[in-house]
């Protein structure tokens, strides 16, 4: 019998709310678990987070390892690593997936080194190969190449997954997970990292990742004044506004909320319209999952046209107002 069994995911929570990526991981994990006929478990670490275990069950977890303690209120790598190590050593999962969020990307490599196993970073796809090995699809060089990475002789086979890339399962009300408590054996004095303050912004608008339509602007938009055109077009469509890196650097758009691509967000709208965007791989990897892609650019040779379903060659200052008109008329 195999010593290492089951799929474990890290259910990241902040301030008592589950982050979306943890639920996405349950979606991936469920598929693998069903295929392998193994159990899907989640690790939940925090303070007063017990009620979240129900939610994890409803999103597909069979079991929840719960560490609940005031010392775990805010994330710190040393405390969380000890608990991950404990869960791994006691329950010996075959596969462990964590979200490549700031916290996940800080914690996962430490845990991998601690339990002496390999880790594939920022995966955008997972599979089990014909030899039963866990395969992670790892993008490199700004997304231009994709490597299949395996970890054949070490356990658990670990990976981080790109947030926003995988789909959550439909929530099944009333589906229950078995909760297993994990004891906290350390004290504050044992920890080297002290939390002295936290700040988390309350998000008012819907995140870009969830938008059905995305209008994105690039450096070609040219300035704050023209950026309003992009926002106006988005307004007419009820769309979210995204950006490439340069508009964020210029201060026309917000880096954290609006940048799409390799180092920003992954969007998956039914319709994406990119204006004044050249089509760098860094950006394109973030729009890959869009159903229909439209590009507007004045340079007929801009690479984005190759990656678009429909292209309009022209000056955005002329095209956008006409487009707004045409959309108003048709709706």
């Amino acid at each position: 019998m195999k010593e290492h069994k089951g799929i474990l995911v890290f259910a990241e929570q902040r301030a008592g709310k589950l982050s979306s990526v943890g639920l996405e991981l349950l979606g991936i994990g469920r598929k693998i678990a069903d295929k392998q006929q193994e159990e899907l478990a989640a690790v939940l670490i925090g303070h007063k987070v017990g009620p979240l275990a129900d939610e994890l069950g409803e999103y597909g977890a069979d079991k929840v390892y719960l560490a609940d303690n005031p010392l775990l209120d805010v994330y710190r790598s040393d405390a969380y690593t000890i608990l991950m190590q404990e869960v791994i050593q006691q329950y010996k999962p075959n596969i462990l997936i964590m979200g490549a969020t700031c916290i996940g990307a800080d914690l996962a490599p430490r845990v991998a080194a601690k339990v002496n196993t390999g880790l594939s970073a920022h995966c955008v796809g997972f599979d089990i190969d014909d030899q039963g090995r866990f395969v992670g699809q790892v993008p490199g060089f700004g997304g231009a190449v994709m490597a299949s990475v395996i970890c054949p002789n070490h356990y658990p086979q670990m990976a981080t997954a790109r947030p926003g890339f995988f789909e959550k399962l439909e929530r099944q009300k009333g589906r229950k997970a078995e909760v297993v408590k994990v004891d906290v054996k350390f004290k504050e004095e044992d920890l080297k990292i002290k939390v002295v303050g936290t700040f988390v912004e309350e998000l008012k608008s819907r995140p870009l990742e969830d938008a059905d339509i995305v209008v994105a602007g690039g450096y070609g938009v040219g300035g704050k004044e023209n950026w309003k055109l992009v926002e106006e077009l988005a307004g007419v469509l009820g769309a979210g506004v995204g950006a490439t890196r340069p508009p964020c650097d210029e201060g026309w758009a917000d880096l954290e909320r609006q940048m799409i691509g390799q180092s920003g967000k992954t969007v998956r709208p039914t319709l994406y319209i990119g204006v004044g965007i050249s089509g760098a791989m860094h950006h394109l990897v973030g729009i890959k999952n869009s159903k229909v892609v439209v590009a507007i650019n004045k340079d007929p040779n801009a690479p984005i046209f190759q990656a678009a379903d429909y292209g309009i060659v022209g000056d955005l200052c002329q095209i956008i107002p006409r487009l707004i008109e045409a959309m108003r008329v048709s709706s």
């Binding site: 800080d106 970073a121 190449v145 299949s148 080297k192 939390v195």
Partner: protein, 270 residues
């Protein structure tokens, strides 16, 4: 104040201006990088800058360390020109083909051979691999705490640091005792430019080269054989779509586009 000795880990990355020259060898499933110049990764410059600022505030030494082929010396020279006191190149055929685990192991043994450090700096992620894994893994091998995604760092008291760990839409401020591993983001500082002095320092300071045996690394834990992960396949990504160019007067193409999108059912029909 006690002097603080820093080690900065810098990674040789292929110069981004030449990335379109990186091609895939379909037979060997490896990337052809020959002829592509290497460069000091952008975040590694921020890491070096932060170490230099600490030295200016408290005294001490800044050592740059890198693991890579002999050509990596070039980026270590840069580190010296920018102000590092010394530079170490871990170079050995046995280090080749390392994943992040085996890279971290080698760097950790290099740092041990240097006698450790009060602060070990990293870029939060590299330009090419962008895993961001090496820093926390070195920290584990050196048994130091680590903080990544740092965009603000201050010295506090005799032996601690206060670091701002940037998270999505917010931050966590932590205080941590030295020795510690810190991985920095771009926004932490503005890296300095080289000066004439730098080129003079370069003449006076030698780059130390160490092999796997020199640092006492276990051969089974470095390079390709020491890497727990393996690349089983590499493909280039195709993002091609149907690429239908609509042409005509702006108002005509606008109307045409709306019709197409309605036909595709991604816009509601009027």
């Amino acid at each position: 104040m006690k002097p603080i000795n820093s080690v900065v880990c810098i990674k040789p990355v292929p110069d981004q201006r030449f990335w379109d020259k990186v091609s895939l060898d379909k037979k060997t499933k490896t990337l052809r990088r020959t002829g592509i110049p290497i460069a000091l990764g952008p975040l590694d410059k921020n890491a070096l800058e932060e170490a230099l600022r600490i030295r200016e505030a408290s005294g001490g030494k800044v050592t740059a360390i890198s693991m890579g082929p002999p050509g990596t010396e070039e980026i270590l020279e840069w580190a010296i020109v920018l102000g590092a006191d010394e530079a170490v190149l871990l170079t050995d055929r046995a280090f080749a083909g390392a994943d992040t685990w085996a890279t971290a192991y080698a760097l950790a043994w290099g740092i041990k051979k240097l006698g450790g450090a009060d602060v070990v700096f990293f870029g939060n992620e590299s330009l090419d691999g962008s895993t961001g894994q090496v820093g926390p893994q070195v920290a584990e091998f050196l048994d130091m705490p680590h903080v990544t995604h740092v965009n603000k760092l201050d010295l506090v008291g005799e032996d601690a640091l206060r670091a701002r760990f940037h998270i999505e839409h917010g931050f966590i401020d932590v205080e941590v005792k030295r020795p510690v591993v810190i991985a920095v983001e771009k926004t932490i500082n503005e890296p300095r430019c080289p000066t004439l002095w730098g080129t003079i320092w370069l003449r006076e300071r030698k780059i130390i080269r160490w092999s796997a045996d020199d640092v006492g690394a276990d051969k089974a834990k470095i390079g390709l054989p020491g890497s727990p992960t393996q690349v089983s396949d590499v493909i280039t990504i195709e993002l091609k779509r149907k690429s239908e160019i609509l042409s005509g007067e702006p108002s005509d193409v606008a109307r045409l586009l709306v019709q197409k999108l309605q036909a595709d059912s991604v816009l509601p029909k009027g």
